[in-house]
Subunit: 349 residues, 4 copies
């Protein structure tokens, strides 16, 4: 490739925005040329406007970029968006209308009929939905989304099982990290010595998105996967790393060994294509009785691997296990970047 | 009542032992006259041997009691036991054999065929099992146990639902507090910024104990409740207060309103008898979308009420909700004391 | 007393406002008749507007009170104020001008020459400053303040030592609780697995307020105590309970025993008058090597006692110790209420 | 260098032992050839015996090493030791007597007159003390120690200031991380929502070690630095990263600018020699008002840089600042490895 794609970050000062910037340092295909935010940071440089909240220092290259309003035009070839829900729909739509590919982590368009809700290892063929957007946005703009941070982890773990054995029902109970709420997000007084059994909209998102992701693309639209999904969501006192206790009922119940093999052997198009952000294995199994743990496993595969442990027969459904992944990498910024890498590889960018 | 029962505490220096002592201060029916512990504290006074880990000061009355070995004879009419599993079976058995009523929080005898696994609001008729112990222990000794700290909360919430509508299946996912592991218990380095998806033996206990508790006493033994129970257990960074995300499938699916009413209206023998430690309502419903929370709800009913919230239809089973209770009060010391109060009221002590 | 004083709470929905309400339930001299807040909660009842963040339930009596704007007139005899700094000066001034006694926890007026910065056990004679306010506010209004939450603890521990031995210098390093920042206050992502070595304005407040509090009232103004005070402040991951590591250099260095006696024997006017909120002993000494601790000692004296431990000779100054008290009770709402009780007892209300 | 030194790790399964192993992966001069531990892990391979508690996976190379008793002979050229205090003195002495260079992180020998208490940037000339050990240990064995984890940070920050301006007194108040207590170390129930104002022996170590480290080597022994040091130590709920609030009184009080320059410009022999583990700058200054923070700054210089912030004039001593460093890297394993690298560079190994 002769030159890098120039990318703009919408919502650049937020937690996911900062992850975008961190993950794009030295990326072989993308370079950040524009940063936009809807808050009062406009008019300042990014170095002035943004308090860097990730480990290490703010990357040098973005410090002098001016923070711009999140509206076209921006000096870039495509945008990554992690805007708050309330403004995402209008803003992302206006970028698509102005001809920009929009690779969005926001929830605004995820459930739209003509928008791919993409996990490259799981449903890369859903990219075909982009044909449905052609008439909508002039100038070649389009919108691709990635799922909710918990949904990605759950759907990724379910994908090889659904492909091999058919899933009838999935019961997922999450223990989610603080960074999923953004910054400032959860007040410390609410979470010290505590658990919050509620995350606004989360249970509904997991239940709806999972069946779209695992659905079949029939060349014009997505037929939702014929499975029931139940989600109960909790916020726990962990900085990064979402966990889900998952039970699964199968159409064709596999042996424990076959189930393990399906998870362990899972590879898909991103691995075949050698996409930069794709982990060697999308799913890693830990056999210790007390794994996965957020602190020990969230950075597996540089944050892109879903770690699965405690695989057991279940007395109500068929099997159960515990899944864990990094919610702002595999669950947000890394997910969107992998989506963009797939679009490049498939000639869609 | 002319005089108080004199009680000995086995495992008095542990977390649950200290709760026993705290809850028995000024108790109208019991007074602590002996303390025993298996550790190196024997030969000292309780004030010297025990580092008090509950809020406030160690009660004055126990400070000068000598710490004795956990073996009969002890200067008391009955014993409360919270000994570690490995020594509980032999020790509790020897006390029963020596003629002491043993009111145990340990797991050793819970699943024995002739031992009541008692929650006074749920299965007080299981006390009838004590007839089966008559031949076993000379001199009037016997053993009554209370369930595991998570099981109590789950079984108590299920009891009125099972009575009214019949439960076919229950899926419970727990988020459990640190005090459940005793002291020193969980290392701080293991739980800061972390969740542990494993508690030794806990899932098995919840699955086995629940069907015994909700089983029917046919005048000679317990017929386990014909329901499937699935448990996944996690340790979270909370001091006190176990939480369980629960889904239930019914034989006769109720309306949401009838389900709520069954929980809200639940009263049982302890309430009718006005037992000292019995809460006015065994179950309290919170309607806020983000309740129950350990920090806000664990002390409901002085730690004896199970708080239930987030009652919703479930897309895989029939309904779901979140339950919470204080694991060392309703889930341990308070449970045993309520058992003893019931035995007194029924003339068994 | 034939009837209770009717009090209004300014900033009633905040953390300290809620403590005021909690501490005034069943108070023998005060009843809450008005609540005011500067936020968007006006027009609602207090029950609707306020999310109760303390343990237990919102007191029934205040639920139906309308939340009013923080401006006179309010239906009350006096106001307790815990308004944010930016609006406190104008608002409290307008209440005083309208004839209300203002018992303020805000920082706005603390360092004003004619305003008592009052800790009843320490400098009750500073109430004489109110004569200086007579010309200022018509209709009998006046302003009395209590110190910053850390200052109160430090000044209270220093007071008997300064009286007995003269303090030349004090070096205080604080470890402060999250509730001191109000709600939502500190973001959870900022404090999990972390310490913040900065609290805006805190070091300056401790250094300036301490010498005013310990100063001498010469019948017209306060002569600051002739001592140097150094403060370094840190926020730690604790819900309630400020701690300070304190070193002291004396004009007349006492023996360790005399120093201990001065702290232990300290009693003052509130104890003599038997004020409702006054603890039996303002200062309690713990001799265990690992006390005081926030979790174990913050509720001493129902949150009004300062616990002191680890008293040792110091190799740079003369002595050192660690002090701890409840920052929203002795350090805020309880402090203001004790101030009001003293004013009642002295016939100033 | 033609071949690597073969090193044995004493206390290999502990927190510091694991850091040794992590930091020695791919080290250009050392390779781990033996692991020893005093616990029940002997007879197993390291992979079987040790639960890896650092991020990532246990390094492959050590997995198959047998865990041996901590007694000579071991298959290595020198030993790194982080044994518990009680057994360190005898064990380390026996290794030295057997001819091994002992690079120790334990406290046992630190204050011995003939043992260097070494921070390579601060007192590399103290290595001359090794001449005093010649008669003591046959076969060329000797003992070099590094200071306590808090002392290193404090002494390193003081060193350039003492050299330039002379320090008369230092008052240090620490907020220390959990990993400093090893594993299992601090019980989670003791630190959740809490601070512990006591760490056994810590205050004494800081006060005694600092004056030895900053003392002058007169070719036969160390003359302690003529300064008073006061330490108060606290354990806070942080995994890694010790913090110290420091005040300093100078013999020749510098301007704030000169003080900053002395810290910023500090370089020493390890930087000149380009030692592998030496950071580019031993001390980094952060100018933000809320830095240093454990979470953000502990990994500065790969854990070997001390970060200093909040430099201000002090009203009791002359200046104050806050220092932070990684307690198991710069404060323990990294410190010992840097000591060993210096010994290699100076031809002492």
């Amino acid at each position: 490739m002769s030159r890098k794609y120039r990318v703009g970050i919408l919502g650049a000062t937020g937690m996911v925005g900062q992850r975008f910037i961190e993950l794009l340092v030295d990326h072989p295909q993308f370079e950040v040329t524009a940063v936009a935010a809807s808050d009062r940071s406009q008019g300042k440089t990014f170095g002035e406007a943004c308090t860097w909240r990730l480990n290490g220092e703010m990357p040098t290259a973005v410090r002098t970029l001016p923070v711009q309003p999140p509206a076209p035009p921006l000096d870039c070839d495509l945008v990554f968006s992690s805007l708050p829900g309330e403004i995402a729909r209008e803003t992302e739509g206006s970028f698509a209308a102005a001809g920009y590919p929009v690779i969005s982590n926001s929830s605004a368009f995820r459930m739209d009929e003509d928008v791919p809700l993409l996990i490259p290892e799981v449903n890369h063929e859903h990219i075909g939905l982009l044909e449905q957007q052609r008439g909508k946005y002039a100038k070649g703009g389009f919108i691709v989304t990635n799922p909710n941070c918990s949904t990605i982890m759950i759907a990724l773990a379910l994908a090889p099982l659904h492909a091999a054995f058919g899933i009838d029902a999935c019961v997922a109970t999450t223990l989610q990290a603080l960074s999923g709420a953004g910054y400032p997000g959860v007040a410390s007084l609410d979470i010290i010595d505590n658990v919050l059994p509620f995350i606004g909209g989360e249970e509904e998102k997991i239940e709806a998105e999972t069946v779209k992701i695992l659905g079949r693309f029939n060349e014009s639209r997505i037929e939702p996967a014929p499975m029931a999904v139940s989600a109960q969501c909790h916020r726990v006192n962990v900085a990064d790393g979402h966990m889900a206790a998952v039970r699964v009922k199968f159409a064709r119940k596999p042996s424990l060994e076959n189930l393990r093999d399906a998870l362990t052997d899972f590879r898909s198009l991103p691995q075949e294509l050698g996409l930069h952000t794709a982990p060697a294995a999308p799913i890693a199994i830990r056999d210790e009785e007390n794994r996965p743990q957020p602190k020990l496993d969230r950075d597996a595969g540089r944050g892109m691997t879903v770690t699965v442990g405690r695989i057991k027969p279940d007395s109500v459904l068929d099997y159960r296990f515990v899944a864990l992944s990094h919610n702002t990498i595999r669950g947000a910024a890394g997910a969107a970047i992998l989506n963009a890498e797939l679009l490049v590889a498939l000639g869609r960018l």
